[in-house]
Amino acid sequence: MTAFENKKAENIFLPREAVILNIKETSQLEKHFTLRNADASKMIFEPGQFLEVSLFGYGEIPIGLASSPTRENSFDIVIRTVGRVSTAINQLKEGDSLYIRGPYGNGFKLEQLRSYPILVVAGGVGVCPTRSLIQYIMDRREEFKSFTLFYGTRDPSQQLFLEDLKQWRCSDKVEYYETVDKADEHWEGPVGLITELFKKTSIAAETRVIICGPPIMFKFVIYELDKIGIAHNHIFVDLERRMKCAIGKCGHCQINNKYACLDGPVFALSDISNLEEAF
């Protein structure tokens, strides 16, 4: 270190402004924001990476990017009303600003997915960070082999991205299966746990699998994948943790000796299956 000299390094905690272009209410709890950097710069990221999103006076929360980097003019995030910060953000209007840091973390390794059959298993809000990958695959469909998507929620009211769902149901780019744990009077689709969907189609052993959802879901899905014989280094999981700093310092996201914010949030299952704190 040089004597008495303040380094000119950037202050990594300073966010930058992003303007809200569009807000969609995706369910009673979630809002879907389309944003653009206030300085009009492009957001460069890979699917699976996340942002620290903040509102001054309320605080900062980690949020996965929910759109594909192939959609260049804007980027999406989905905010679920949970605590102080998300409640405040979900009261904003179009034209208001949010403050962001990032993108951070390791996303889905596209080079490990290209030219293979792909299965995405998304449970509940787990569809948000995977939507980035789903959109990417849809946009660059020719780079991948078959593409299957499983989406499960607790009940129909929990389904997100309703417009996307409509499109996925009839698209020939994706083999889409959905289920709810509990139906309501309007639901005509399948009822049951997400693992039931494995009965509806056959998944090849060379498939690359992406799982994102509540911790409880992982174990059951992995159990099904093991039956098919999918290697654990071909299974990628997106883990949710309390990522407070996103830069490997604050300690909050640690899973044994790994940091979700630096080493993840996307991990190859083979890299973490020996970590007791992972699931």
Binding site: N11, F13, L14, F56, G57, V125, P214, G251, I255
Partner: protein
């Protein structure tokens, strides 16, 4: 750089002259009842300085990583960082704490440099001093003892046990420009070879005087602790009386976890984003909440948290740091009301259990 000597009779002047020019943070007596308690504070005059302290309640890292630190100020939709580091001297830091600072220097710089730490660290002249009194729970003689203390700019050793003919005073080793700048504040003489040797033997001989000892190599400890990860009964036993207060983290010189929180000023238009020390031993540290009041705590039990703390001190960071993330200061041992935080007892218990298992 050179090695100097300053006479006892000139020492107070040195401190006072320095105080005229620079803020100095140094050990002072903070309370005295049955025992004396010391803390690092901004020094007002030479009288307060207590280089004979045994241990301070909080570690000196607070000079650049304060318990609460405003990192951003905001007002009416505008915001700015608050880094504004001024030259200061941190004096009287014992070698084990120097090692801890060396660790946080690395950790706040790797991957992403955090100038909210490094700016203050770089603006600080760090003066190590020899240990004159040994704390009752110290075990720095047998942990992280293979790595040298480094990163300090100067080293002050009080020369003791001298012959009558020899002058009382301090040896002052200067390692770089920052250390060198302090020479202008005092009457320094070039040290004699004898004085240099005396200081060396003072600092050498203290190494095996700790009241507590661990008789294992770093690898032995790391491997065995790592292998004990799934011994749930053992961790339950070790954490049994823990009430998750987090004092063992707060007092630790190598702990650097933090949380960040926003707050408003009374005008409700302006406010600040503040980071503050956090503790992995507290209940909510690894908890995330989801909608409708549901939550997931990735380290639910005191045992899981105790295990994480010990893994972090003894295993996880070793490769990165080249040493354990415990420097044997014994502050956690003193701070824990239940007296279960002492790494010496914990490690001995783990090693003993592992030895029994392999019988």
């Amino acid at each position: 750089m050179n090695t100097y000597f300053i006479k006892e009779s000139d020492f107070n002047n040195f401190i006072d002259n320095m105080l005229l020019q620079l803020p100095v943070i140094a050990p002072v007596l903070s309370s005295e009842s049955v025992e004396s308690f010391f803390s690092f504070e901004f020094l007002k005059n030479h009288d307060e300085l207590r280089l004979d302290y045994d241990i301070t309640i909080l570690p000196p890292k607070k000079a650049f990583f304060p318990p609460r630190q405003v990192i951003i100020e905001f007002s009416h939709g505008k915001f700015h960082g608050t880094v504004n580091a001024k030259k200061q001297v941190l004096l009287g830091v014992h070698p084990y704490d120097i090692k801890a600072i060396d660790q946080t220097d690395f950790l706040f710089t790797e991957n992403y440099e955090d100038i909210n730490y490094t700016a203050y660290r770089n603006a600080t002249t760090l003066v190590c001093s020899n240990i004159q009194t040994i704390s009752k729970r110290a075990f720095w003689g047998s942990i992280s003892h293979d790595v040298p203390a480094r990163g300090h700019d100067a080293f002050l050793t009080k020369l003791t046990d001298l012959n009558e003919a020899e002058e009382e005073g301090y040896l002052f080793e200067v390692f770089n420009e920052k250390g060198h700048e302090l020479l202008s504040f005092g009457q320094f003489l070039l040290a004699t070879e004898l004085q240099i040797q005396q200081a060396k033997s003072i600092n050498e001989s203290i190494k095996d005087k700790c009241p507590q000892q661990l008789n294992y190599s770093q690898d032995e400890m790391a491997n065995t602790i790592c292998r004990s990860f799934n011994n749930t009964a053992l961790w339950d036993e070790l954490a049994q009386d823990c009430f998750s207060c987090g004092s063992c983290n707060t007092t630790c010189p190598t702990c650097y976890c933090f949380n960040v929180e926003d707050s408003w000023n009374i005008d409700q238009q302006s406010g600040q984003r503040t980071r503050y020390w956090d503790s992995c031993m507290t209940e909510d540290f690894a908890k995330i909440s989801s909608a409708d009041g549901q939550s997931e705590n990735f380290r639910k039990t005191t045992a899981a948290r105790m295990r994480h703390r010990i893994m972090r001190k003894m295993v996880y960071l070793n490769d990165k740091l080249g040493t354990q993330a415990c420097v044997g200061c014994g502050r956690c041992s003193i701070a824990c009301t239940a007296d279960i935080a002492d790494p010496v007892n914990i490690i001995k218990r783990i090693m003993e259990e592992a030895a029994n298992d392999s019988l």
